[in-house]
């Protein structure tokens, strides 16, 4: 009966209560949204690469190497010569090695030159291999295999011609050497979805007429290029798998001490940890801000309850006259606050899932973060429970005041 009366009392003040609930709901949605994006981003990043033991690149920062080689974020400052690549490939510890050559683009997507072994050895989400949704792999020189997102957003189908651009965000196209869409990779939820994959030789072929960043005067015809030796002189990075995990550190050391050229090898998991440390500061700030929003919403609720007390003195006097003790008055207000917090939480969860459903494709397309929509995790559930408890706690002050007022008013509130 008390619960029913409390609910009815809230209903009678639907507008103010509704606004308060909305404030709580928004703060809950924001807080959990940040939490979801954060864990989603982490999981998504961690899922992007698996089965690769080492990533090799020119000496720079390990996070930088990880970002450009796996996530196609940022650029390689230097290249790895083909000679060094072959030296590493010849090491006895190496089971497989996949070269990667970056630097060109197609529209908003990056182009990656590699060898067909890439499709064999690149693994994601706990050991899954890339699969082709349509077409075939890299067979002839001007074949391009495109990611699912590339195909979807540019509307490409097998056989469509595509023109690659020199560099990133440039206006110089490699017009004289059109490619053909040979295959489309099934959606992975990794940066592969946003990559145009061509052969290493194709990258070399594109730059036959280019010398140190500028196009030479003459244009070599495609037929001539096809006959040329297209062994690359340099690559951007390489993914390496070792025969036994025990050998990782030996090879790691050998590469870092390679005398001919400053090289660097990183363990993807370790580099990822480093990345989290950097991102961690921003994460903490974000969590802090959204927690403040939650606190603000709770204060709004407290202010709303406090403001309503004056006009509810009559009501309190009735409760007192009927025999309700201070504990009941106290409990009544705590109950109201809890009900509002629960309502706010439920509405907030609704908003969150609506928002997630709406933002999921966009997040995936823009950042390659695939956010699974599942029930709240234990951590999120306990955060929500904490919020409800905090709401009950926050109303201590108004409840105390209500009790004092009811004592001071006696039983006849003068109006």
């Amino acid at each position: 009966m008390i619960l029913r009366l409390a609910t009815q009392s809230l209903m009678a003040r639907a507008l103010t209560v509704g606004m308060t609930v909305l404030a709580i709901a928004l703060s809950v949605a924001l807080f959990l949204g940040v939490e979801k994006v954060r864990t989603g981003a982490r999981a998504s990043f961690a899922d992007t690469i698996s089965g690769t033991d080492l990533i090799v690149g020119a000496r720079s920062g390990s996070v930088q190497l990880l970002l450009y080689s796996v996530f196609r974020i940022g650029n390689a400052t230097n290249n790895v010569t083909w000679k060094s690549y072959q030296d590493i490939a010849a090491r006895p510890e190496v089971e497989w090695i996949v070269p990667i050559s970056l630097g060109d683009s197609h529209r908003q997507f990056r182009v990656m030159g590699t060898t067909p072994v890439f499709f064999e050895h690149y693994k994601y989400r706990g050991g899954r291999s890339l699969g082709l949704a349509a077409g075939h792999g890299l067979e002839s020189l001007y074949d391009a295999v495109i990611g699912a997102e590339v195909a979807a957003s540019l509307g490409y189908a097998i056989g469509d011609p595509i023109i690659l651009s020199h560099g990133l965000a440039s206006f110089t196209d490699h017009q004289d050497q059109p490619f053909r869409v040979a295959g489309i990779v099934a959606r992975t939820g990794t940066p592969v979805d946003r990559t145009v994959i061509v052969s290493l030789e194709a990258i070399e072929a594109l730059h036959v007429d280019w010398q140190s960043g500028a196009r030479a005067g003459q244009v070599t015809p495609a037929e001539v290029i096809r006959e040329m030796d297209l062994t690359p002189t340099a690559i951007s990075a390489a993914l390496v798998g070792v025969k036994s995990r025990l050998q990782i550190f030996g090879l790691h050391r050998w590469i870092n001490e390679y005398p001919e050229e400053p090289l660097m090898a990183i363990l993807p998991g370790v580099a990822l940890q480093e990345l989290w440390q950097i991102v961690g500061v921003a994460e903490t700030a974000l969590i802090g801000v959204s927690a403040m929003v939650v606190v603000t919403a709770l204060i709004v609720m407290m202010a709303m309850i406090l403001a309503s007390l004056d006009e509810r003195r009559r009501e309190m006097a009735i409760w007192r006259a009927m025999g309700a003790g201070p504990v009941t008055i106290f409990g009544l207000l705590a109950l109201e606050a809890t009900l509002m917090a629960v309502a706010g939480t439920v509405v907030g969860l609704g908003l969150l899932y609506l928002g997630l459903a709406a933002a999921q494709p966009w997040l995936d397309a823009t950042f390659g973060i695939w956010m699974p929509i599942g029930p709240p995790t234990l951590r999120e559930a306990s955060i929500l429970a904490g919020l409800v408890a905090a709401a009950a706690f926050v109303c201590l002050l108004p409840a105390l005041r209500a009790y004092r007022l009811s004592l001071a008013d006696g039983m006849m509130v003068r109006i």
Binding site: Q8, S9, M11, A12, R320, A321, G323, G325, M412
Partner: protein, 231 residues
């Protein structure tokens, strides 16, 4: 001599705050089953006296006994309980939780008074009976209290005060919000039900005309001295 439904002796009380209204009552007694009208002008301390009787405020000195139980000997929680069990209260107006249904309003005191609830036996049924006896329309129990007319609300307040037949009914100018014609029928109904429940009735009013309905009429200035210290 029968046990007093209410007995005050040597009571004095002062409101905290700038008004500094204080009141003292050397002696007042209400016998069981008796009805008394306490007459006094507005501001003479009638409502304050009722707050004391109901144990909502505590006297600085003196003894107030309800049904032979000294309020001064009780802890706050016990006083609240005693009020719920033994006293039915009717205010001047704005008696009800306007957002709640009539049934919940009437049953509310029983929520805090298990003995009184047991006496009422089937609460909802008893509430419906009282509503009928007080001339409230059928189906009123399910209505939201705020939707009723002032006269109907006052009658619902009577039903709430009488449910479970508490030994003392305290009414603070319950008719002043009603017009003269409704006042009389309201009082007739009230008296009939109070008699049926066998309760004592203490009503305060400034309206001398109501005296004819009561066993006794007492002027407040005869039992209470008030003072106001200018601050």
């Amino acid at each position: 001599m029968t046990e007093s439904a209410l007995a005050l002796s040597d009571v004095s009380f002062a409101w905290p705050g700038r008004d500094g209204f204080s009141l003292s009552c050397p002696s007042f007694r209400l016998a069981a089953g008796e009805s008394v009208l306490l007459l006094g002008a507005s501001g003479s301390g009638k409502s304050t006296l009722l707050s004391l009787v109901c144990g909502i405020v505590v006297p600085t000195r003196g003894r107030i006994a309800v049904g032979g139980i000294d309020l001064g000997g009780l802890r706050a929680g016990e006083r609240d309980r005693l009020r719920a069990e033994r006293i039915g209260i009717i205010f001047q107006q704005f008696n009800l939780l306007t957002y709640a249904r009539v049934a919940d309003n009437i049953l509310l005191p029983l929520r805090f008074a298990p003995k009184r609830r047991a006496r009422a036996r089937n609460g909802p049924k008893e509430a419906a009976r009282l509503c009928g006896a007080l001339g409230l329309p059928d189906g009123v129990m399910r209505k939201t209290a705020g939707r009723l007319s002032v006269g109907q609300q006052q009658r619902v307040a009577v039903a709430r005060a009488l449910i479970g037949a508490p030994s003392l009914i305290v009414a603070d100018e319950p008719t002043s919000a009603l017009d003269t014609a409704t006042q009389d029928s309201f009082l007739d109904l009230l008296f009939a039900q109070v008699a049926e429940a066998g309760s004592s009735l203490l009503m305060v009013s400034h309206d001398e005309r109501l005296g004819q309905f009561f066993d006794h009429v007492v002027r407040i200035e005869d039992i209470v001295t008030t003072a106001r210290v200018a601050a």
